[in-house]
Every structure is written in structure tokens, then in C-alpha cells.
Amino acid sequence: MKIVVIGAGQVGSTVVEALHDEHELTVIDLDGSRLGPLSYRHDVSTIEGNGATRSVLLEAGIKEADLLIACSSRDEPNLIAAMLAKKLNPDVRAVVRATEVEYLEAWHERQLDVDLVVSSEIETAYAVSRTLGVPAARQTDVFAEGQVQIVEFDVEQTAGDHAVIGRPLREARIPADSKVASIIRGDSAVVPRGDQSIQPGDRVIVIGSPRAAQEWSSIIAGDRPRLDDVVVYGAGRIGVAVAEHLLRQGIRVRMIESDRDRARLVAEKLPDARVFNATGIDPDFLERERIGQSRAAIFAMRDDAKNHYAATLARIHGVGFTIAIVHEPISIEVFEQAGVDVAVNPRQLTAEELVRFAHDPRTQQVAMLEGDRYEVLDVTVRPESRLVNTRFRDLPMTGSLIGAIVREGKAIFPHGEDVLLPGDRVIVFTEARRAAEVEQAL
């Protein structure tokens, strides 16, 4: 497939990294200094120029391209590039990165002629609330309109004897409608056969229904009470998107914003949130407002260093669960070192969302778990597939696992005796290098 990528920043280079192996890429950026390293590292052609102009798009070969990924940091050039591309080549599919939620809404209402709009803010909000909805989860992805979840857990080092942990999987009491997709122990993945067991310190990836995911989280985390009070530091666009999302789920949200006018604006926009005009690092304020009593805090200020400081202070004051929104990839490690529970990178999330679309046209969602080692495919089974009518227990085990089937709109979590039918949507958990193979087989 021939793909044109506009923007070689953090999102762009992550996209290139994920796609350069299988596809022919052309990368456009205004800043030539970003293109050099990219073309040395990966086999891609580059053009220095404005991707939102016809001449540059034509030079990039938009007429022969199958896909345009417009992921520069500015919304309007991205949209203009996509619209120009659609005019120059009606067959090209266009995906656009946009920070403004309005554009996403316009696209949902089919008022923007592009194939996909990805908003970093909304992706981040989903990621944060998923993480909070299942407190111990490192990462959760939702498939088939929320009927299927993939949840990633860290089993604590200190986890003791347990109905699930430390027992062979065939004996363990695994919640109904769920499957262990993979166990990651150190640097290697363990294929979860019946004689394997989950050990303390493992990272477990589970596919299952939302209810099963909830059960898993209580198995892993013990029974934490439901989240009811969250503090969001920073009322920027990401902070607001996160707060909005949590409020919609009925969670009490307090927001801390240091800019007076911004605080007022957000307070007007979110009547249900309590907005404070404060820096968030004033101990008197934290004490007076009992910030330490809230169950979770999200650090969505513009500056990683500030988030780092505020998160540490919040932990000192007793906040149980901290989530940091990071802007520089390197910060993830800093945050982990500092004891922040989850670090969310909006650009990484955006890149994942964009890459999903670049895979097989039938693939509706592709999650990238554990960096690039695993992928989750959402594929519709073709009638001519040789696996049709095969019982699940007879399917070849090739490092991939069918976690769920969506048949006539309903999710089924298959057992050994179930068979695969043409037209089934299957959610497959697979090693990244086998993704193409799996797609072909189905």
C-alpha cells in the first residue's frame, strides 16, 4: 500500500515506525531537520514542504496513493490536506489528526469528507477513564462497540496465594467470558497453555466482556471501592476532555487551573465540576481542600516537569492513584521512576489510532499493546477462509488467539466446541509479526 504521511513529529514518526515495514511511505514535513533522521532510520521517501498544498501533495504521489495520514500538530492544514487529497484522487482514504473536538463532532455528523478524524484529547480521555474504570489496569482497549475489552494488568510482586494467581490456568477460577491472551514475564511472553500459571510480578493480558474485565480487576487489585472523587490538574484541552468524560460517568471531578480566565471559562463550560484557581502545588491549598482524600489525580498540565512535581506532592498528601499525561516520550520513564501509577502519552495514543486504520481495510481496530509486540485485530471472516467451520479446539495455535466473536451484533466468548462461521467478526490477539498472516488466514 502506498501511504502519504504529513507531519514528522512525535505522532508522525510513531506512525512511520509502525508502518514502514509493510508499506511504501512518503513523509512530508515543513521542517527538513525532522525528515533527515527519519529517512536514515527507516526506508521512506521524504519531502520538505507544506503538505496542505496541491503541488507538494502531487509531488508526494497522492494520485497513486491509497492512504493519506495527515498528522501534523495543526488541525486546519491537516484537514485542508485531506480535502485536497480527496479531490486530487477520489480513491484515496484520508485520516486526519485534529485536536479540536468540534472537528471530531463535525466528522461524526458527516460534515467533513474524510475517512477518520482522531482527536488526541478524546483518545486521552478514553484512555484515562478506562484506566480509572478498572483501577489496576495498565491499559484497556475496547472493541466491538464496548462489548469486548482487552485489559492489561500488572500482578503485584507481593500477591499471595490466590484462586487465580499461582495456579495452573486449567485449575484457576478464571471469570466467565474471558481468556488469558498472554502472560509477559520479564522480556518474554509465555503462551498461556493450561499448565502455565500467573505468577506475582507478571503482566497479564486478558480478553473478555466488560463485566469479566471488572472481575479481573478485582481479582488482581483486591476489592477497591468504586471511584467517586477525582482531581484533574490543569484545565487545558486534555484536562477538560478527561473531566468531561469522568463527569459523564457520574464521577465527582475537581479541577485545578492556575490561569484565572481559563478557570472561569472551564467552570462555565462544566457546571458539574468544581474548578479551583490555584497552582496545585501550594501545600495550604492541598490541605484545605483535602486533595489527599481523593481516590485519584490526573496531571494534565502543559509541562511534564510541573506534572511530575505536582504528582509527587499529591502522593505525599495521600492521593492513592496518579495518572500523568506526558508530552515527551522520555517522561514516561521518569514518571514510572517517580511512582506515578500510569503515564498516558496522547501522541502515542493518536498514532495508534491512526495506524489502526492503515491495516487491512476490513480491520476496524488495531490496538498496539506492549509497544509493538502484540496487536489486536478486529477482522470479518471471509466465506472462502479455510478456517470456516473449524472447531476452536482444532484451530492451529500460532501465537495468536481468538478472544471473542461478534455474531449478529452480539459478543460471544467461544469455547472449544464452537465453530467459526463466515461473516463473524473476530477479535484476534496476535503477535505483531504474525498479524499479516492471521489476516490472510481469515
Binding site: 472561569r264 468544581r274 474548578v275
Partner: protein
């Protein structure tokens, strides 16, 4: 060397920032058009075989004065925002002044005192409804209809009317409009002020017509045998502007239950935001009505206060059954909407009822209605703001915008509301004090409660007070000075204080 005094004078002349000539020119034009209003009572007088000359002469004097003012300031036709306050304040003073001419010219002994005539006229245009008349029914039909008609003109506003019909006010009308239309935030019905003004007047005329037709229908159908075409029109003219004048000595007490119930409904409507009424009638949007926070609180207050009064009436054995409900509700609605009609002499009710009624004088109807006084929306915002102050005392960093009907209220509006209420209460206190002191100096029998009620009722454009100035009484016993005080209070109250009061600040006149 220039002397210091000369320098100061030179500076002062240069720093006058208000184009008085332009303002007077517009006032002159408005006064000129106002003269047309005298044609209506003249026609009524003719119809009843009375002399039309007081109205014709008053019309001629008014037209000539307006024209003279306009000619004297020729070449200064552009009014800008700054002059708006001056134009509005002066226009209302002039309207009341020229509107008093027929009273003086009619040769009626009750209104021969210029202070009385001016009081009656100001009470008319400001839709107050307080009267210095002691024997209303002795006046000719034409003069009585003029009283009613001044309230109808003043209710929706003479300037709003001018905005709707005079092409000259196409520009710069917003300042005038906002100075005259009551309420902290003016709901605009259309893209242009001119169209908004026109729609407001259409709603107003339609409602007045409906009420007149209904009341006349009662007369024709024999539901109310004391009702006549004259009374139907006269009361429609003073119900919709929440005025309160009546050509009957016993006000609405002269009519039957059906008429009183109907008037209760129309008083309630007159106290509702006309923007909501327009949305309901023209676009069929009833839901906007229910969602409006002010309307809900307004109706809630009516229910609450009238049940208190009804309960008191029944408990004290003053009235019972339907009569208690009707009269209790009638008085509550009449005072709350600042109409000022009476269906019985509530002067004779208990002290609790009297205090409740004086309290109601400070509520007022909704913003954007024809009602006067402080208005429900301001009370609501003050309440919310006080609640926020308590919140801030505990959580000093919290940012909590006030909301009204789910929409955020900006701090500027809130500040204006707080200032308005403080000014209102201050002026009320000053007015009550002035009336009390004057009564003491003039040695007149005015009790403190009567002075308080008189100040509250004139500032709130309500109408009746207590004691001798009660619903079936008269303001005549007050001294001329006291009448002047109340004339100013009515003027301030109708224009919601600020447009008048800024004229007395140096900052207004300076560049």
C-alpha cells in the same frame, strides 16, 4: 498670566463630554410625536359629549414645545450612546410634564394643584397607579380615559414604541432600549433593536386587545353586569402595563368574580418576560417557558405568598371559601406584579397581611415584563451570589460562575445587579425618611408604616400604600414636598434608577 479661575473655567468647558444639544433635539422630536397621544382622549371626550378642548390644547402645547426644542437644536440630529441616559430620563420627565396638562386644563378642583396634576401624570406614565384623586368617579370620562391611556403608553415604554416606529432611531437605539426596558439582561427577540421593539409592542397590543375583548364579552354575555365597553378597554389599558389605575372608585372590587379571576390571569401574564411570551405565541415554544428559571420562581412565589395571605384571611375569619382564595390571590398577584389593583380594601386586613403586602412590593415580576420593582431575577441572582460567598468563605480558590436558566452570568452583570439592589434599597430608605421628616415638619398625620409603604409603593411603581393612601384611599393628604419626593421615586423606579442617577454624577458629564 491667566488667572486660575479662568483656566479652570476653560478646562471645564472643554471637558463636557455629553452632546446636550443632540439629546434635546431627540427629546424634542419624541415630545412632538407624543402630542398625537392626546387625540385618543379627545375622541373619547367627544364621544361622551364632553369638551375635547383640554386635550386639543394640551396636544397643541406639546407639539409646539417639541417642535420648538427640535428647531432650537437643529443640526444636531445624531445621538450617540453617551446621550442615551439623558434622552431617556428627560423624555420620561417631559412625558409626565406634558401629560399633566389635560388635568390642569380640565378645570377639575381635585387636580388644580400642579403638584397633584404632575403626580397623577407621573403615576400614570410610570405605571405606578398611586392617585391623588379623592373622588375618581366625579371626573369626566375623557380625563379618566387619559389616565388609563398614559399607563398603557408607559407600560411597554414610549421609547420602545418610538424605536419601533420612528425611522430616525434606526441607529444608536440599543442604549435607549436598554435604559428603558426593565431587567438586568435584555432578551433580544430579533436581530435588530427596531424589530425587537416592534415585536414587543405587537405582543403587548395583542394581549391588551384580548383582555378588552374578554371583559367586554362578559358585559355582553351578562356574566358581569357592571362591566361596560368603556370599563373593559379602561382596565385592559392598565392591566397589561401592570399600571393599576381604574376609573372605578372601588378599583376591581366594583366587578364580579369572573372579571377578577380573568384579571388575575392577565396580571400574571403581564408580569412574565415578554420575550418568553413572544416565543410562546409566535413560535409555539411552550417548553422555553417551563425551562425558564425566573418564571418558575415567579410562579412559585405567587403560590407561596398568596397561600400565606389566604391562610391568614381564613384563620382570622375575614373571608372564607372562594372569596378568600380569590381576594388573597388577587391582592398577592396585584402587588407582586406591581399592578396595584384592589378587589377589596386590604387596608382592613391584619398586620401580618399588611407586612406581607409591603414585602411583596419589593419583589416585582419578571425581567422584560411591564412590572416594576426589583424583579425576581435580581432576587435570584443576589441569593445565588450570597450562597457563593458562603462557599468562597470555606473554599477561597473555587471558581464558580453563577448560572441563570443554565446559562452562566458574567460578573459584570452580577455587579450591576448588586449595585441596583443596593441603590434601590438605599433610595427606598431615603424616600421613606424624607416622607417621615416632611410629615413631621408639616405636621400631618402620617405614621411611619404609612411613609414606608408610600415610599415602597412609588419606587416599585406599585400603586396603593396603607392607611389614608390605601387601595381605596388617596395620596392627596401628603404635602407638596412629599408628592415631589414620590414623583422622583416613581421616575427613578420606572427607569430602574441608573439612567436617572448617572445624570447626577460628574463622570457622566466629563469627557
Amino acid at each position: 498670566m491667566i488667572s486660575r479661575a479662568r483656566l479652570r473655567r476653560a478646562v471645564r468647558r472643554e471637558t463636557i463630554g455629553v452632546d446636550v444639544g443632540a439629546a434635546l433635539n431627540l427629546v424634542g422630536a419624541l415630545v412632538k410625536y407624543l402630542s398625537l397621544a392626546f387625540l385618543f382622549p379627545a375622541a373619547i371626550a367627544l364621544g361622551y359629549g364632553e369638551s375635547p378642548w383640554p386635550f386639543v390644547a394640551a396636544g397643541a402645547i406639546t407639539a409646539a414645545s417639541g417642535l420648538a426644542l427640535e428647531l432650537a437644536t437643529r443640526g444636531k440630529e445624531t445621538v450617540r450612546a453617551r446621550e442615551g441616559f439623558l434622552v431617556v430620563a428627560l423624555t420620561w420627565a417631559c412625558a409626565a410634564g406634558f401629560g399633566a396638562l389635560p388635568y390642569l386644563l380640565a378645570g377639575e378642583s381635585q387636580l388644580a394643584n400642579p403638584a397633584n396634576a404632575f403626580f397623577e401624570s407621573m403615576s400614570g406614565f410610570t405605571t405606578t397607579g398611586s392617585s391623588v384623586l379623592t373622588d375618581i368617579e366625579a371626573l369626566p370620562r375623557g380625563v379618566l380615559m387619559w389616565r388609563q391611556f398614559t399607563q398603557w403608553l408607559g407600560g411597554m415604554g414610549i421609547i420602545v414604541l418610538a424605536l419601533a416606529v420612528l425611522p430616525r432611531l434606526r441607529v444608536g437605539g440599543r442604549q435607549l432600549f436598554e435604559s428603558e426596558v426593565p431587567g438586568p439582561e435584555v432578551g433580544q427577540l430579533a436581530a435588530s433593536i427596531r424589530e425587537t421593539a416592534r415585536r414587543l409592542w405587537i405582543v403587548y397590543i395583542a394581549l391588551t386587545g384580548t383582555l378588552a375583548a374578554l371583559l367586554f364579552g362578559y358585559a355582553v354575555a351578562g356574566v358581569d353586569d357592571r362591566m361596560s365597553l368603556y370599563d373593559a378597554v379602561a382596565h385592559a389599558f392598565t392591566t397589561m402595563p401592570t399600571g393599576g389605575f381604574s376609573p372605578q372608585a372601588e378599583s376591581l372590587g366594583a366587578f364580579g368574580g369572573a372579571t377578577q379571576w380573568t384579571v388575575i390571569v392577565f396580571m400574571l401574564v403581564a408580569g412574565t418576560n415578554f420575550a418568553l411570551l413572544y416565543a410562546l405565541f409566535a413560535r409555539g415554544r411552550g417548553r422555553a417557558l417551563l425551562r425558564d428559571e425566573e418564571l418558575r420562581v415567579y410562579l412559585g412565589l405567587v403560590v407561596l405568598v398568596s397561600s400565606v395571605i389566604v391562610a391568614e384571611l381564613v384563620a382570622e375569619g375575614i373571608l372564607e371559601g372562594e372569596a378568600a382564595a380569590r381576594h388573597g390571590l388577587f391582592q398577592a398577584v396585584s402587588i407582586l406584579t406591581t399592578t396595584g389593583y384592589a378587589s377589596v380594601d386590604f387596608n382592613e386586613w391584619t398586620a401580618l397581611a399588611a407586612v406581607a403586602i409591603v414585602g411583596l412590593m419589593f419583589l416585582g415580576g419578571s425581567a422584560g415584563s411591564t412590572a416594576g420593582s426589583i424583579k425576581v431575577v435580581r432576587h435570584l441572582l443576589i441569593g445565588k451570589s450570597l450562597r457563593r460567598e458562603l462557599d468562597l468563605a470555606v473554599h477561597p480558590e473555587v471558581v464558580a460562575p453563577l448560572r441563570f436558566s443554565a446559562r452562566p452570568v458574567d460578573e459584570k452583570t452580577l455587579r450591576a445587579v448588586v449595585a441596583f439592589v443596593l441603590l434601590y434599597v438605599g433610595l427606598f430608605a431615603a424616600g421613606a425618611l424624607a416622607l417621615t421628616i416632611d410629615a413631621a415638619i408639616e405636621n400631618r398625620a402620617v405614621s411611619p408604616f404609612e411613609a414606608i409603604a408610600a415610599a415602597a409603593t412609588t419606587l416599585g411603581n406599585v400603586g396603593p400604600a396603607f392607611g389614608f393612601a390605601g387601595p381605596f384611599g388617596s395620596f392627596e393628604p401628603f404635602s407638596n414636598f412629599s408628592k415631589a419626593v414620590m414623583i422622583v421615586l416613581m421616575w427613578l423606579g420606572r427607569l430602574e434608577i441608573v439612567p436617572v442617577l448617572v445624570l447626577f454624577t460628574r463622570r457622566y458629564w466629563r469627557t
